[in-house]
Symmetry: C2
Subunit: 572 residues, 2 copies
């Protein structure tokens, strides 16, 4: 392809976005931002996206059949699973103006995921045990009502997705397939050049199961996820589910001091409070009051500096949903305004759950359950009973220990490039999709779902493979294999030579982007080539004569060689 004819050339401006992938992909002419989180793929970018999607497609064909489900779906299907009213990334379509409204007023769901379509689909065709297992997948654009779009292609409102759904007649068969899918995923990441930096991370299995789901996370500084690695067990946790022990505090006190209540009006943040009371943050205690869906009011006590992990809490408290207690309830239960709740003298009906970080401290602080007052020098066994049990209710943070081995977690940032999810019978039950066994009886169907985001992967690849000059595409997804530059094109013999090389490369089916521009300087052509990041750069100029300069984008040295040797190097 002639670069002079390509739509979407490199940009001169040096606008920096919040991530390398946004900055480079926009500057190099791969994508164009239509609005935050929504992009057009320009010819160069579409070539990369297609290569990524085709690699995924080839591997998925080993474990499933490709279909193409619609984006629009009746709301009734989402009502059936109970997700219409609960999924906060869900969007629906409505007529855009009064003429449209007069014409047709129906509203449809714009799918962010397709369980609500694929389960009724399976149900229409596959009912006998003989039809199982089966798996369907698709690659298409998905839509999410996303407030925090950021990091270029890493988090968008419209993005490309491969989603596969598998159906099984036994848990064992499901689990076998689930393990197989991990292998297939790693084959995909290997072909995309991401395998070495990609790991399987345990993540939340959702509210309907205690099982983990599995994320494929690629280490990446601009990634959104924080991964906790317990090296001795070779296990990675997403922060949201990482079990954790707080590191022991350095205890300087030797004995219990007299408890007292201190006036500290409006001092609520733990750091501010610690400064005010002249105690370490670790000696402060956060007490939070929650209401559960089964109408209990509970209190949680956790060491200052930590946050509650609501998923952990929900499982400990054994409830479906939780919310912070209203100011009214807090007042009624603690006798104080919000911000001064503590663990002393709470009504018996309020069960207190202690995080283990709150244990093993002498003379700690907590809210006084008296507006504007904080109790200090509080001690278990004297001011209140020693709790029967301490739990892990906190959001893990850097410095925390892996409970099983007590080793300090290694903490890394990463971007999720795929995830697989055991759904068991959650969705098949919702649609009453059962199979008929050999005895003619209806039996439950077990499901898994398996996602990979091709557009996000495009972003992650740029995050991983770039330098200060631009992108360095892995060969498997590069828009072209060769970036051919012609210099000194005013000289007829050079011009003739470079067009010969171009045609010869095309004849050998080598994907080549030929910078044939006559009015652009050598310097600009070189910097454009580095920015665009095609694996091999070839130069034909007065200086190279009958030969060709060969340079790898990720190499330092260039070599001058014959066309035959270029071909040989390219096939290596």
């Amino acid at each position: 392809m002639l670069y002079s004819k390509l739509f979407g050339k490199t940009k001169k401006d040096s606008k920096k976005y919040d991530s390398a992938n946004a900055t480079y992909l926009i500057k190099a002419g791969f994508i164009d931002q239509v609005m935050a989180g929504v992009y057009t793929y320009l010819p160069l970018g579409l070539r990369v996206l297609n290569k990524i999607e085709n690699i995924i497609r080839e591997e998925m064909n080993e474990i499933g059949d490709e279909v193409y489900m619609p984006s629009l779906t009746p709301q009734a299907l989402w009502e059936q699973t109970g997700r219409l009213e609960t999924v906060d990334v869900l969007m629906k379509t409505v007529p855009a103006n009064k003429f449209a409204l007069a014409k047709h007023s129906s509203e449809y769901i714009l799918n962010p995921t397709h369980e609500e379509v694929v389960v009724p689909l399976g149900q229409k065709f596959n009912l006998s045990y003989k039809d199982f297992p089966f798996a369907l997948y698709q690659i298409q654009s998905k839509f999410r009502n996303e407030p925090r779009v950021k990091s270029g292609l890493l988090r968008g409102r419209e993005f490309r997705m491969k989603d596969l759904y598998s159906f099984h007649i036994s848990i064992e068969d499901f689990k076998k397939y689930y393990e197989k899918s991990k292998e297939v995923y790693f084959k995909v990441f290997e072909r995309l050049g991401l395998k070495d930096d990609t790991v399987i991370v345990l993540a939340s299995g959702g509210s309907f199961t205690d099982d983990y789901s599995h994320e494929f996370q690629t280490f990446c500084e601009t990634g959104e996820d924080v991964i906790f690695f317990a090296k001795s067990k070779n296990v990675y946790y997403n922060r949201e589910v990482a079990p954790s022990l707080a590191p022991k505090i350095v205890e300087n006190d030797k004995e219990m001091l007299p408890k007292k209540d201190v006036l500290g009006k409006g001092i609520i943040g733990v750091r501010e409070l610690a400064n005010f009371l002249k105690i370490p943050v670790e000696k402060t205690t956060k007490t939070l009051i929650f209401e559960t869906d089964d109408n209990r009011v509970i209190a949680v006590a956790i060491r200052g500096g930590y946050n509650i992990n609501e998923d952990k809490l929900r499982k400990i408290v054994k409830c479906k949903t939780l919310k912070f207690a209203s100011a009214e309830t807090v007042k009624k239960m603690t006798g104080a305004e919000v911000g001064y709740a503590g663990i002393l003298n709470l009504p018996r009906e309020v069960e207190i759950f202690f995080d283990e970080s709150a244990a093993n401290r002498l003379n700690f602080e907590c809210g006084a359950n008296k507006t504007n007052y904080h109790s200090v020098n509080v001690n278990f066994g004297r001011d209140l009973p020693i709790p029967k049990k301490f739990y892990d209710i906190k959001m893990a943070k850097e410095g925390d220990l892996f409970p099983e081995t007590k080793e300090v977690y290694q903490v890394k940032k990463a971007a999720e490039v795929g995830n697989i999810f055991p759904l068991y019978t959650k969705f098949t039950d919702a649609f009453e999709y059962k199979f008929i066994d050999q005895e003619g009886k209806q039996q439950p169907i077990y499901m898994g779902c398996y996602g990979i985001g091709p557009s996000r992967i495009m972003g992650v690849i740029v995050e991983k493979f770039n330098d200060e000059k631009g992108i360095i595409w892995p060969k498997s997804v590069a828009p072209f294999q060769v970036h051919l530059i012609g210099l000194d094109l005013k000289e007829e013999s050079v011009k003739k030579k470079v067009y010969q090389v171009y045609q010869a490369l095309e004849k050998h089916k080598i994907e080549v982007l030929f910078d044939d521009r006559e009015e652009v300087t050598a310097g600009n052509k070189f910097s454009d080539a580095d920015l665009i990041g095609i694996p091999v750069r070839l130069v034909v100029s007065k200086r190279t004569g009958e030969k060709i300069e060969f340079k790898k984008r990720n190499g330092k040295k260039s070599e001058v060689m014959s066309f035959e040797n270029v071909l040989k190097k390219l096939s290596e």
Copy 2:
């Protein structure tokens, strides 16, 4: 591919839909209806769709660069062109529930077409005359707020679309490209097997121009469009723009009879009125009162049995928009309730436009401008002046004449498979997108847009190529080239032979669907093969021995031959 492993087998039920394409594509397992006008493409259907799209892509690559624009777009872009409030097929997205609303409340347009995206895109990259001409295209799912979905894939709410947009610095260059695009389109239709039945039809150019747009219409009984063909000039018009002359009426009256007003309360439909008055329908006259956007009130008189073509009327009246006058205005202008308006004694300010169908009649009827009364035996030159001019304001109907040659139109039904549209500067002006000429001056940019609907084409192909047994796919888009059937699979030698044939076909890169099912009867396998419609059926059975039975789907006879001869026949 093994048919036993394929998701989406043929259905036993004989449910008939409103069109052959819906009936056969659903029954044969190509598509599944998620809701009216919205389908899932099953593995077989997706193969066909991909083949159609790849043929389109290959041809479009000759005249444009492929990109992929998003479906979601900020409303501001649609405000800029004034289409946000006027396009009645436009949908927007809103949060689907209260949690989604709390999270992110923005609303976005879900694009049914992409002028609002592609023009600002061009503007970001191509500004110099040197950058022109250029053309961008994409193939993707589009969304329309469509009230009357019908005919399977022919009219949907979500459908596949190829849309190309071209940009030019002169009208001449635009027109040259426009003509070139017609050739490219016919190459596409040729490859799809539709060329012989596809014609270019003149259609409306939109309100902003007197030019026609051009539709590619494939003759098809289930098509929605009605095409008027003037054979001697070899020109096709879409009904909506067909110029027309009403056939002369057979005049039995010899002389003018005395005009009189007849009481006919509540008799408003022309057929009912003609019966009541005992006159031919052709002697009745419809008088319709309109208000224009520039505040004129006008009357239109047309022979009974015809409808007004508002596009024609708007151009004659020279206004932007028209609407039926309110009952109040009708009363004020005619003195009568709606339904009794006529052409006699209207106020001078109400200009009357006569359709030519209302001319050359003796003793015709019209409303009496008196509630409940109709005037009969009305005559030009006696009861009112002979109109200075008669116009063509009617919607053409079967039997009408082509004005230029006075020949009777041939009228055919057709399905639109593509359309091309001169946009000129409508959208580039809206975004103030100009190019810089050689003198450094800003100049207007001329645009065209060019659509083809791959999913609709899939439907049209089935409408055209089927028989009472099922689909008959053209080779170029067939899901597989060969449908291999194994019979008598209980016999080990036969089973071995058919699997050998299957593997040999795959080795020769022949796309083969192998019906390997053991529990299905020969009859069912044959009828499934006919329903699915793959071009060649091969059978291996006890009877064929070492040979293979070869039969074309669109042929009557089968032949038994060696594998080598099968290969030879397949390559013909």
